[in-house]
């Protein structure tokens, strides 16, 4: 029974650790697998140590999209190994690789416990970056293409291995870790005065999303109330972040099929949208806006009016720029049936965000697990059904339009501005899980405090962590020349993954 192995709670609520069921690993295993089979997704899974008992513990945070609940459970390990969950629950495959790499606890029976980030520790266990066995396809005329870590454009580093037969890709393996800069280690014993800045830079293009997820955890653990005004400003900023990135992505996709008008227009409009975030807080990426307790900058009526004016212009420009994509047969010809991911693969792998919605899977934290102002106003969830580049592009376009409507409505009914709530100590020996729908998808932060009210563990899961495998799947049986297009249609974060 899942109800006995998991505490049922809600997004952004804190629980005392003793109220979280702690089951022997075998029972926990069965309960987790059953819950995922029934209807849950695994939003976070990690090993916590040191613990009160001295033995490592497996902590799982599951999301139930059917009733908006969050299930938290602990599996007590007897030693340094347990039977891997991956064979029965593929969506944890990377979580288990991460567990093995970070803690040495071995999920036995995992198909291949490859390195994830090559953390540079004196630890002999860890391989050096790039030094590992890659998946290999053997046979006549099969060849391998290796790309990266330094790529052709101004983009983050990562290593890609393609197993090809002529032009056709049989398999793509993605090996990351180049941006690993020790973020999670640095969060332990926090919050410090640097913590919020580390959160803002987990993935620089998702500053608002991650800062909000973090702030929501701190607010839950310290029982701090956030004013209605601050909640609205956060949501406006989160939607502006989505607008800017989705717009940039549509432009980049156009560029990848050589359709320059949309590329050029979207590149500029994206800048206009970033400048709207800068109007809110002085920084184009939303730095220093979202902090525990609320927001640092209030949105006065004149500023709201200016924002509305700029939003209108951006909307008009976007309509012109983006509709060209759907009206151009050459663009459609390149987008359609390229980089397909099946609905089944999407569900099995636990993909999130626009990549999942493009497969017709209805996941969106704003709808299923809303917090803040999303609890009172609903943004209709956008889906498409082919799981191809076109669907991933189209979902973004739908979301752009819906976010614009949402922002406009919020600006029209702005609650009176209010000050930041003052900070309070965090509750000791507690756990909180916070989910935010960032522009790439579900962001999950899990905070656990020790007896001193400081973080004893802080687990970050960027949506990219779930979705990189989706990109690999999209490349199967595709011409290798479609890689840039497929890649751009996911546009995943390296730094958010590498941490």
């Amino acid at each position: 029974m899942t109800s006995s192995a998991f505490a049922k709670t809600w997004n952004g609520e804190a629980l005392a650790l003793i109220d979280v069921p702690r089951r022997p690993i075998d029972q926990f295993r069965v309960a987790l697998i059953d819950a995922v089979k029934a209807r849950c997704r695994v939003s976070s899974l990690f090993v916590r140590r040191p613990t009160e008992s001295g033995k490592p513990e497996l902590v799982a945070v599951l999301t139930d999209d059917s009733d908006g609940s969050v299930l938290i459970g602990i599996g007590a390990l007897e030693g340094e190994r347990y039977a891997s969950l991956t064979p029965s629950c593929p969506q944890v495959h990377l979580f288990e690789r991460e567990i093995a790499e970070q803690t040495g606890v071995a999920p036995e029976g995992h198909p291949w416990l490859k390195p994830v980030r090559f953390p540079d520790k004196a630890d002999q266990r860890n391989a050096r970056i790039g030094e590992m066995d890659f998946f290999k396809v053997d046979g006549d005329e099969v060849h391998e293409v290796a790309v990266g870590p330094v790529h052709a454009g101004v983009i983050e580093p990562g290593h890609f291995r393609f197993q090809c037969h002529g032009e056709e890709v049989f398999h793509l393996e993605i090996s990351l870790g180049y941006q690993h800069r020790g973020v999670e280690d640095a969060l332990v014993d926090g919050p410090h005065n640097r913590t919020i800045h580390v959160m803002e830079t987990l993935a620089g293009d998702t500053t608002v999303g991650h800062a909000w997820a973090y702030s929501q955890n701190v607010e839950a653990l310290s029982r701090v109330h956030v004013s209605a005004h601050a909640q609205v400003v956060r949501a406006i900023a989160l939607e502006l972040e989505r607008l800017a990135n989705h717009t940039g992505d549509l432009g980049a996709l156009a560029g990848d099929v050589g359709f320059l008008p949309t590329q050029s227009f979207c590149g500029r409009i994206r800048g206009d949208l970033l400048n709207m975030t800068a109007l809110l807080c002085g920084n184009r990426f939303g730095r220093s806006l979202v902090v525990p307790g609320g927001v640092r900058f209030m949105l006065e009526p004149e500023r709201a009016t200016e924002l509305k004016k700029r939003l209108e212009t951006a909307e008009r420009d976007l309509q012109i720029a983006v509709n060209l994509l759907w009206e151009s047969a050459t663009v459609q010809g390149r987008f359609e049936q390229t980089g397909m991911v099946s609905r089944t693969a999407c569900v099995d792998l636990g993909l999130v965000g626009p990549a999942a919605r493009a497969c017709g899977v209805e996941v969106d934290i704003r709808s299923t697990h809303p917090t803040g102002v999303y609890q009172f106003t609903n943004i209709p969830l956008a889906t498409a059904h082919h799981g191809d580049v076109n669907s991933r592009a189209y979902v973004r376009w739908l979301e752009i339009q819906r976010s614009i409507v949402f922002i406009r409505e919020r600006l029209n009914s702005l609650p009176a501005s209010d000050s930041l709530s003052s900070r309070r100590e965090l509750a000791a020996d507690s756990i909180a899980a916070s989910l935010i729908e960032g522009w790439r998808g579900e962001i999950c932060h899990v905070a656990i405090t020790g007896s001193n009210g400081k973080f004893s563990s802080y687990k970050v899961t960027d949506p990219s962590f779930h979705n990189w495998t989706g990109l690999s799947m999209a490349l199967r049986n595709q011409p290798i020349s479609d890689f840039p297009l497929c890649n751009k249609s996911f546009n995943l974060s390296y730094c958010g993954f590498d941490l």
């Binding site: 980030r117 090559f118 540079d120 870590p149 330094v150 052709a152 454009g153 101004v154 983009i155 983050e156 580093p157 870790g177 180049y178 941006q179 690993h180 800069r181 020790g182 973020v183 280690d185 640095a186 410090h192 005065n193 640097r194 800045h197 580390v198 803002e200 830079t201 987990l202 993935a203 620089g204 293009d205 500053t207 008008p261 050029s264 227009f265 590149g267 500029r268 800048g271 800068a278 109007l279 809110l280 807080c281 002085g282 920084n283 184009r284 990426f285 730095r287 220093s288 640092r296 900058f297 420009d317 012109i320 720029a321 060209l324 009206e327 151009s328 974060s493 390296y494 730094c495 590498d498």
Partner: protein, 262 residues
């Protein structure tokens, strides 16, 4: 075919005229160069120093800020009970040396000088850069990329981002230099034919930024490669980056700015 043309007409021509014309206006809340009005400081007060997330603020007698560590957040100005710290709208921040990034209460900020005559002859009209991301948050990359969009069009100055280090005159580095990127960074640098430039963009690449001190990284490029231009910020505004590059190429004349707020 007609529709894209019509769209082009409607969207118009939008490249900024800077540096011939005025630079685009900064938003009113923009946090550019911080200034400290030391006359307001109260003896023994360390509020700003304690609030700073990256130890960018130090004080022997009077507070001093290291622009290479500064995240341009509002933590210090918010913490100061005397309101002695303000961020100006001034986006000009780039320097040629690390020392020039330390600004105290009385100093001037010595902005980047142009390359010497020989290098300027080589690179002044055509500068190809290979960008290397080495352990940051990708926001610096985003605002470097912006310079190649139509609004900024750095191609008009002969500056171009290229794919191969063999085609480059230098590298532009972002990120704190994660241990996992160190080798790739060094190899990329080696692959660039001499003479070559190293430009570091962002707090990470200058000092480690928000990750300074983490054992998984190297606190920036300093000590690994010789650096020709420092562009501070987290991330630097595109205009800050452009200003730095144009100063290096001698397209904007040498000057320094007074640090004092009055």
């Amino acid at each position: 075919m007609l529709k894209p043309l019509l769209a082009r007409l409607k969207q118009g021509h939008r490249t900024i005229t800077y540096p011939d014309g005025e630079p685009p206006a900064m938003p009113d809340r923009f946090r550019g160069r911080p200034v400290i009005d030391a006359s307001k400081c109260v003896e023994g007060c360390r509020a700003c120093i304690e609030a700073c997330p990256t130890e960018a603020l130090t004080a022997e007698r009077l507070p001093q800020v290291d622009l290479g560590k500064c995240l341009f957040c509002a933590d210090c100005s918010e913490a100061c009970p005397q309101h002695a710290i303000t961020h100006l709208q001034d986006y000009r921040l780039s320097t040629r040396t690390r020392e020039d990034l330390f600004v105290g209460a009385q100093d001037e900020l010595r902005l980047a000088r142009a390359l010497d005559a020989k290098l300027k002859r080589l690179f002044g009209r055509s500068l190809r850069l290979r960008q290397v991301s080495a352990g940051g948050c990708n926001a610096c990359e985003a605002d470097v990329n912006v310079l190649s969009t139509i609004g900024w069009d750095i191609g008009r100055f002969g500056i171009q981002m290229v794919a191969s280090p063999r085609h480059a005159d230098g590298i532009l580095v972002t990120g704190c230099v994660s241990e996992n990127m160190r080798l790739a960074l060094e190899k990329t640098y080696e692959a660039v034919p001499a003479p070559k430039l190293v430009i570091v963009v962002g707090a990470c690449a200058i000092s480690g930024g928000p990750y300074a001190g983490h054992s998984q990284q190297h606190n920036g490029v300093e000590g690994l490669l010789p650096i020709d231009l420092y562009i501070p910020g987290c991330p630097p505004h595109p205009l800050t980056i452009l200003d730095g590059l144009l100063r290096l190429l001698g397209r904007i004349e040498v000057d320094s700015v007074r640090i004092q707020s009055k």
